[in-house]
Amino acid sequence: MVTKKEIKLSFFIGLWFMVLTFPIMVIKVNTITNTVIFRWPNLLWVGIVCFFASLIWNYLLRMKEEKKKADTKDDIPIVHRLLQNEKFKIPFLAALAIFFLLYPFVFSMYHTSILISALIYVMLGLGLNIVVGLAGLLDLGYVAFYAVGAYTYALLNLHFGISFWVVLPISAVFGAIAGTLLGYPVLRLRGDYLAIVTLGFGEIIRIVLENWDDFSNGPRGIGNIPAPSFFGHQFGQHDSVIYIYFIVIGLVLMTIFFVNRLENSRIGRAWIALRDDEIACQAMGIDKFKTKLTAFTLGATWAALGGVVFAAKTSFINPMSFTIWESITILCVVVIGGMGSAIGVIAGALVLILLPEYLRAVAEYRMLVFGALQVIVMVFKPEGLIRSVRKIYKFKKVKE
């Protein structure tokens, strides 16, 4: 399985990384007290970890090559196969529904609150999935539209006292307008510029929110954002968390429904075709620009909806909630979960957001792991955790 040559190679790779990481991993300089600490054990760890990582890396690369050569029929992921199985599908969905219905009554407010944030990420992830996964447009400033939604609610409520339910559609419209305004000039260009421009736009929104004191109250943020009401009835603190939880569940279900319908619609197929081959797609008579703009705008709309819920949930927002890291986290959810696959994105969001919340001890390594996972997923499994399955027609033999 592992040849002698590979072991030798991995040994040298381990050595190479020991040299490479020496100044940063081993030496720690304290420039204030002027002391230097040498952390020699780190060197040993780097060597050992890199040796084994290299072995696994080479093995996986070889497996990938062999798989390509073997040209196996693409097997449908187990989740999809289970969901297609009628016998399994109904009890599974029923169990899931009961679990989510009872969750806030069984578990404490703390756990419910964490699940709400994970579900907001599910929504954001599904929205970004339209842009990145289906249409193949890399949007690194997704959080800007999230901020648009959150600030729309906060400001409209602060100045005009407009309630959550009225703001929800308004913010969706605002998000769509922001998406169109940004998408209009940029989407004519080649794909990789889009990544940089959206990244820039995300930062611009944050900087403006931080500096334009009269408008957004600057870095101090806006507080006392009311929780949503139920036909004029305002809940107490505990009940309102449960109420928001059900609103988010409703919104997530709505998102799943929409995304599912979109994916197999004419426009959804146009997105996928455009992602796979732009020129062939144009030759088939699809308006490239309009199709891309629709995807971008729809993605922005979902981000804005997510923003409103976020503002209502935390009741306090400031520009620090809308940094580039937020965009990258959402991108990780989509990429690692599986680009273009709704089930993958949902699973990705729940795993990537809930795990660091409960594993507090390793939470600081979260971004490190996300970065490494992005590279690893792209190299070995570009389709993500749970691959998307395209709808195909199956011919059934007619019984005579």
Partner: protein
């Protein structure tokens, strides 16, 4: 549309020119300071932008991790300089060793990053390579933050105040002068490398057509590695110089500097080396003017607005050629 663009361009230049001349007459020394500050800034951008533009020219990939390579260069220089400083070495030796280590380590990192994150994705869709690049950038930032610190670390200037420069030092400090001079030297060396050496010729060939280049016996993989190494070396020089100029560094400096340098590369025409230098100088000087005469807190907003404006009106940049996609 073309006429409209020309009229718009003339109008903008005219208004800016009028305002500019008025300001220059009002306070020439302030203008000169801003101009030279912008030139320094532009030189640093140029050193980083070269790496972007060279890599983009060959494999059409935005190397997001390039800013991190620059940060690692500065970090290595800081660590080497502090350790040697505590051991009481001669300051001239420290300067040389810090530069050498920064360059060597940046090159090694650039080389390794390419082998891990980009080489397996040579034939993959561009989106995959781009996501992998972002992942690499994220990983390197967090690796430095966790292994070192997330605080700003003071960086003692490695470049002394030269004696002979004293008469001019009220307009431009000797550090700034060193930055500009070093950049010019690096540019000339790079020009020689690309124009007259064998590997430079191979790089140009690979940039034009990778398959054809490999057919005439060029090892394209080696050329790509060399490009990453050369780009990393110039970025490391930029990193050490800017750290001397600003006086403090942390794990995050590479992100914004990388973005600005990328904007400069696009401004000049991505893929073109003279374009990257020109774009960097234009961006550096105009940014300096903007912060000097208008609002300093919107500096980054200004740079990004420039990017959007170029991409709308002239996506191929100042010196770039128009590209049409082929099947």
């Amino acid at each position: 549309m073309r006429l409209f663009k020309i009229i718009l361009g003339v109008a903008v230049v005219g208004i800016l020119g009028f305002l500019g001349i008025k300001e220059i007459i009002a306070d020439p020394v302030y203008f000169l300071e801003l101009f030279l500050g912008g030139l320094t800034r532009g030189s640093i951008y140029a050193l980083i932008a070269l790496g972007y533009t060279m890599v983009y020219g060959i494999i059409q990939l935005i190397n997001f991790a390039h800013g991190e390579i620059y940060m690692i260069g500065a970090m290595t220089a800081l660590i080497v300089a502090s350790v040697l400083g505590l051991w009481g070495w001669n300051s001239a030796v420290i300067v040389i060793l810090a530069f050498v280590f920064a360059i060597v380590y940046s090159c090694a990192y650039g080389f390794t990053v390419e082998k891990i994150a980009y080489m397996p994705l040579r034939t993959a869709p561009r989106l995959s390579a781009l996501i992998s690049a972002i992942g690499m950038s994220l990983f390197l930032q967090n690796y430095v933050m966790l292994a070192q610190t997330s605080e700003y670390m003071p960086f003692e200037s490695l470049i002394p105040d030269f004696k002979f420069w004293e008469p001019f030092s009220h307009i431009i400090t000797s550090v700034e002068m060193t930055i500009i001079v070093t950049t010019v030297i690096v540019m000339i060396l790079l020009g020689i490398l690309i124009k007259f050496t064998k590997i430079g010729k191979a790089m140009r060939a690979a940039a034009q057509d990778k398959i054809m280049a490999s057919l005439v016996g060029i090892n394209v993989n080696r050329v790509i590695s060399t490009t990453f190494v050369v780009g990393s070396a110039t970025a490391a020089i930029g990193g050490v110089l800017i750290a001397c100029h600003v006086g403090q560094i942390n794990f995050y400096i590479g992100f914004l500097a990388g973005l600005k340098a990328f904007i400069a590369a696009v401004l000049g025409g991505i893929g073109s080396i003279p374009g990257a230098v020109l774009g960097s100088l234009v961006l550096g000087i105009s940014e300096s003017m903007f912060t000097g005469y208008f609002w300093s807190e919107y500096e980054d907003v200004f740079a990004f607005s420039i990017l959007v404006i170029i991409l709308i009106f002239r996506p191929s940049g100042i010196l770039g050629r128009d590209e049409t996609s082929k099947v």
